[in-house]
Symmetry: C2
Subunit: 797 residues, 2 copies
């Protein structure tokens, strides 16, 4: 029996009793090509066996490779090489110690007060931007739909309905065209909801231009245009993104877009600080979008923040509260009830009276959750296909604008056809309809579908939630669901700023109401079948099925309907929808993130990889620098490589027997730091550099440092040397080459690392692990099999 432990173990111990772990899984020839479910994506998937057969039997590990040289877009299992990580670590170099020593506690207290102040500003400004968006949309939509409604009723008597139709198309296409033009030509990153981008940013990935003022401008104008233009999109996602941009802008006290530096809050110019503020901004955005402060904090926690702590959460909460407060203050004045913060019109989706529900309704709610999960998964799948199509074929900017205009025209057409073909009439006056359009109805009645279409999607959600029973007939609801489902699906991902919360809620609310009619038909004497309740459940189910959030979504719905008694059913519905949907595919945001090849780190390390080691994961050989390094060499190195972090090492030791090629680790220095040092010419041979050295040496140009090619180093300076020790991070976290992958992962995830040098037994640097090296390993499920796949990192994506 002793043999068995030894034989399983002996591979790892050499004759000196040292533990050597072979690099087991790389470069092992593939043992079988399993049938490839992703064959349409030009990827070859190779099953990787271990040297150990047992392993092969129980869990499958496979590697993704490409058939052709170039990665074709649309792969869900390829990472892009272009994304850089943010740095969540404090670099405890000489500059920081010096600052701490000189400024002491009082500075810390001041900094903390400034931090609270910035969160206050973030909350206020986010709310103000949200107010501008809200009020603009409301005013413009009112003009548009008032005109359209009156045109319809004017021309229907003349039999020339093509005229209002023409106007409708015009009123849709013009704003959408403007918005789409801005997005496509000015700032493509402003397209869509912005939530995936914010999520990536909070995960620690620097998405270029995502928090610029220009993005904010395009996003705000774009979302007004697209909602006024009648697209099946909402303003909530863009508001969250706006909050994030505002947070980044205010906290840095400068704007790259305007080339303006206010010189304030310089001490916040670090990835570390900026990310905390962005997390507050995103929460403030949710709070402003839905009037849901607690939901905002939970959103920030659930969707984003990896490195959460209590003091950050308080500040985030504070920003959310300030944001809700400011929003309510402005909107209550706008609605004509200034100062009345409990004005019911402030609830986005309308305030619900308390519902009652009975225990025997729970199974029905579960079924509705499952339906929502199915529909959501289906929606995600279609949207994924559309997105891939767009990535491949809708590439020129003008084509994107055309597509957006086309969708706008189709939206008008679909709406027009629905209200033209389905003559669903109700008596007037009973329902809170702003522009009751008569169309073919008799006098004193109005067309129900027209009243749904002639308002913003948000107002339609409110209608479905609060209209009295029997407002809609099942046929018109079913037609509406079918049309809107696909419309929303086609709209999301256009080159225009809009989110999917509201259209998804609208689809769900519509089928929820449909189900309530069905239930009422089967149990005509059930007194509890309130259609609004079922609309809410349907909306929650649909949204849960699409985005797969649970806690924050439930709380947001609770907060924006003002209804707490209904928390339990909502949670059940949302969880059921999530579980059902997860069975088929990922949430839409995650799908989009995967499509973009963003190396997002999941919450947990991949399972069953405890026998993979850092030595297999790391990049090597690694380019190192000496503590005192030659200027010419550094310039050369920066030009030749694209690495962002360089371990600083002692010169390799020369022993009697052998020359080690590795140096012992002394610290870690970033590319940006080297560039600033070169730019400021902080060379040992120049004697006047000390004036430039202060705690904000590296902060001054944050976050956009020049490239190495923009730095001019004279040939005469190249023999000079630089002492890197005062600037480098003198004690980066390192791990041994024999550390397991989950352990490395937890270190990255728990501490927000960007670079992790891998050392050998004598602390010599033999490799480097970055986020991309870790994000490559991902759980993979297919047809009941599960495994870990090793993604390809591509420069083409």
């Amino acid at each position: 029996m002793e043999e068995s432990i030894n034989s399983a173990y002996s591979q790892e111990i050499n004759e000196n009793g040292e533990i050597i772990r072979p690099r087991r899984f790389r470069n092992v020839p593939s043992e079988s090509n399993m049938d490839d479910p992703f064959h349409d994506r030009d990827a070859i998937i190779t099953q990787i066996g271990s040297s150990d057969d047992l392993n092969l039997l129980q869990s499958v590990r496979r590697r993704v490779e490409m058939k052709k040289d170039k990665v074709q877009v649309g792969s869900l299992n390829v990472l892009s090489a272009k994304f850089e990580s943010l740095d969540y670590e404090n670099c405890e170099n000489y500059l920081l110690l010096d600052e701490e020593r000189k400024k002491g506690f009082k500075f810390l207290v001041r900094k903390n007060i400034a931090r609270w102040f910035v969160f206050l500003l973030i909350g206020m400004c986010t709310a103000l931007v949200a107010c501008i968006i809200n009020i603009s949309i409301e005013e413009l939509s009112e003009i548009k739909y008032a005109k359209l409604s009156s045109y319809v009723d004017e021309y229907v008597t003349q039999g020339s309905l093509y005229i209002p139709y023409f106007y409708w198309v015009l009123f849709n296409v013009v704003p959408v065209g403007i918005g789409s033009f801005l997005v496509a030509y000015l700032e493509p990153i402003a397209a869509g909801s912005g939530i995936p981008q914010v999520k990536c940013y909070l995960n620690g990935i620097n998405i270029p231009r995502v928090v610029r003022i220009k993005t904010l401008f395009v996003k705000s104008v774009g979302v007004i245009c697209s909602v006024v233009g009648g697209l099946a999109g909402g303003k909530e996602g863009p508001m969250i993104h706006s909050g994030a941009v505002i947070a980044a802008g205010i906290s840095q006290g400068k704007s790259t877009t305007f080339g303006k530096d206010f010189g304030v809050f310089k001490y916040f110019r670090e990835d570390h600080e900026k990310r905390d503020f962005v997390s507050g901004g995103a929460a403030a955005g949710v709070a402003a979008a839905f009037g849901a402060p607690v939901g905002g904090v939970l959103f920030s926690l659930e969707e984003g923040t990896s490195f959460w702590n209590q003091s950050l959460t308080w500040k985030t909460f504070f920003a959310s509260i300030v944001s809700t407060f400011t929003l309510n203050l402005v909107l209550s004045a706008y609605h004509g009830a200034p100062g009345n913060l409990t004005y019911p019109g402030l609830f986005n989706l309308g305030e619900f009276e308390s519902f009652t529900y009975k225990i025997y309704e729970i199974p029905l709610f579960i079924i509705m959750g499952a339906i929502g999960g199915l529909l959501g998964a289906f929606w995600n799948h279609i949207n994924y296909k559309i997105t891939v199509f767009r990535m491949r074929y809708v590439r020129p900017r003008w084509l994107k604008v055309i597509e957006a205009c086309l969708v706008a025209a189709v939206s008008a057409t679909a709406g027009f056809l629905l209200m033209y073909l389905i003559n669903d009439c109700r008596p007037r006056g009973q329902d809170p309809t702003k522009f009751p359009t008569q169309l073919y109805c008799t006098d004193g009645q109005y067309n129900v579908l027209a009243s749904i279409w002639f308002q913003t999607p948000e107002a339609s959600v409110r209608s479905f939630f609060h209209d009295p029973p029997n407002t809609h007939n099942p046929g018109s609801l079913a037609a509406f669901v079918a049309v809107y489902f696909f419309l929303a699906c086609w709209t999301f991902g256009l080159a225009s700023s809009n989110g999917l919360f509201i259209p998804t809620l609208l689809t769900g609310a519509a089928w929820g109401r449909l189900i309530s009619i069905g239930v009422f038909y089967i149990f005509p004497d059930a007194d509890i079948v309130h259609p609004g309740k079922y609309a809410l459940v349907g909306a929650a189910a649909q949204l849960g099925g699409v985005v797969r959030m649970t806690i924050s979504l439930t709380v947001i719905l609770m907060e924006c309907t003002g209804n707490i008694t209904f928390a339990l059913p909502l949670i059940i519905v949302v969880i059921t929808a999530k579980w059902t949907g997860d069975f088929f595919n990922e949430g839409i945001y995650d799908t989009l993130i995967q499509l973009a090849g963003v190396p997002l780190l999941p919450w947990e390390p991949p399972p069953v990889v405890n026998n993979m080691y850092a030595s297999e994961v790391m990049s090597h050989p690694v380019v190192t620098l000496k503590c005192v390094e030659n200027v010419g060499h550094i310039v050369e190195l920066l030009k030749l490589t694209t690495y962002n972090g360089f371990p600083v090492v002692d010169p390799p030791l020369t022993d009697q027997n052998e020359v080690t090629t590795y140096g012992r680790i002394r610290g870690l220095i970033l590319r940006s730091q080297l560039i600033v040092i070169l730019q400021k010419k902080i060379f040992n041979e120049t004697h006047d550099y000390w004036d430039d050295i202060g705690p904000s040496l590296f902060r001054d140009q944050y976050p956009r440092y020049p490239t190495i090619n923009e730095i001019s180093i004279e040939d005469s300076e190249k023999p000079y040397s630089i002492d890197l020790r005062p600037f480098m991070n003198p004690s980066p976290y390192t791990v041994l080459h024999s550390t397991s992958l989950p352990r490395v992962f937890r270190l990255f995830r728990g501490l927000g690392l960007r670079h992790l040098p891998i050392v050998n037994d004598t602390n010599e640097v033999i490799g480097m692990v970055t986020r991309k090296d870790l994000a490559r390993y991902r759980v993979w499920k297919h047809q009941g099999q599960m495994g870990v796949e090793e993604l390809l990192i591509s420069k083409d994506l």
Copy 2:
């Protein structure tokens, strides 16, 4: 200029260009003895200067030392040596790899399903226990107060009021005596609310016996006794503690108290897993106590969980929901509305109608928050003094029981005097009073104070929240506040199981109502002064001032009053109360934790210690083991030392020039692992040990391993050797001796470490850092000065 950088920097670089950081702050003679605010606690506080004068000017660092040999109880700045950490790390030893290899993915899926199932059970059982507590208290209290009320009205006519008074004392003392006897003699850890203990556990400290079944039993019976006995205590804290115990019990599938092992969920028998379950249990406890599922999750996040991740949060949320659901189901049946889960009686504190509030009320709310903060800080201070007194003088068990009985008697007396002296009469029938006691009132009227006292504190909170305006007169409210404030303060910390939520809410609600009367007096025509609203604000302020929670408290209050419109004012109030209170002292839970000397790790590393290094913090010399180690040596070592983790090293190298005394790190092994290996006699010389080795080798006896003295090793076995490599953690996180303290702290906090070996430049172990070494450094504030203090670790506490 170059000189200046060199001179500041030169201390750290020796002639070979190596960076050597001196151990600067230890052993530096004190430069001045500042006046000591803690002189009554027998501690000497030494101000520690750095070698660098600048540092001294800006921030003060000081060390706590003791005047006498023995630490006297009541010190807030001494840590106890007796607390051990939990281990949140995965030990990737041969056993784990083997299990993973053999069981693969399917096992992981099964384990995950089992995990969800356990969370389901936790939610259900917690709710059931809560129901039992709830219903017992309600039934017993009803009998008690019905009797008392009738006695009063019977004997008042006879002029012999001493008889009901006597009964009242009796009805108080007997149950309290029973509860207190159980706590004092059976399980002292069951005293108090249990929240501080749960908080410590979730922070990663193994508080002995805190999650035993016996504790659950004593806690449940104890809380019923103390609430029925009329103590100024609540049942909410104990319910949270119960949830934690239930979670630990169910997830481990065995009970030490009953000596029963069900043999299920063996794979959850690790600190890591158990703590996750406990966090779910605490959340389920909050959910059951307040009917607040979201509040439960937030409580768990805010008060406890350090190593939070999304999948744990979902499960926690699930447990909370199940708990609320089960509770509502049982209680709705109990209240005679089975299946009606929206039955308003399910709201603990009664459902509020929507309030309106105007913007000009906000300043008033802020003032009330500040009052709450002041009163809370005052309450905390008195309770701290009382606790210290108890720790010093109320030590024998019988004395504790006597004290509890005394408080019970005093409670009855205070209540009796209040209702006897203040003749506050109201007409009957108007208010929802269960036992209207007439006392000296005219016929058709009842005594208001009697109706407050003749019910449970929770019911009194409901009364203050929901009684119509003008139910109470200001005099009786003021008297009640004064009496109850001190009563609650005296009660909390007795040897009986009760929490402080409800009494604190009650005090706050009373003064809130008092303020509403004042406001109404000043602005008689303000139509918005609803006394219930002000009672709620006062309750939130008082509780915020005492416990200093913000987010979870707000959400809990929202959820248990069913009122969402009032979120904003509540948050403002709670934050104001927290800030005001924090100016004076810490929250009551933190104060208690500090008194017990628990090495709780705060959320953030102490500030301004970037120039302290691991070499100064670590314990050394460190006791190491070789990879293959002699049995006798191990036994000897375990007997001689009390360390819980031992680095496993290569034998020290012998070079030509010198003999290093340190060995190169190979792994880390725990005391418990060594003991199991010795117990199972897994020696290289015995050939039949392999049968015992399986993944559950160490799990079988978790969490209570024998001590080394219980292991019998024959003398003939002592020359045998043990190969530690298959069992040890082969790649523990390590850091260089030159790593800064905040960096070490973040590693501990972010990854939940228990031991961190400190290595030198060539990976040889030179020291070890544990939780206590880090928890010693704490922010210290006094009279406008701030600094970091270095606590003493004492074995006497």
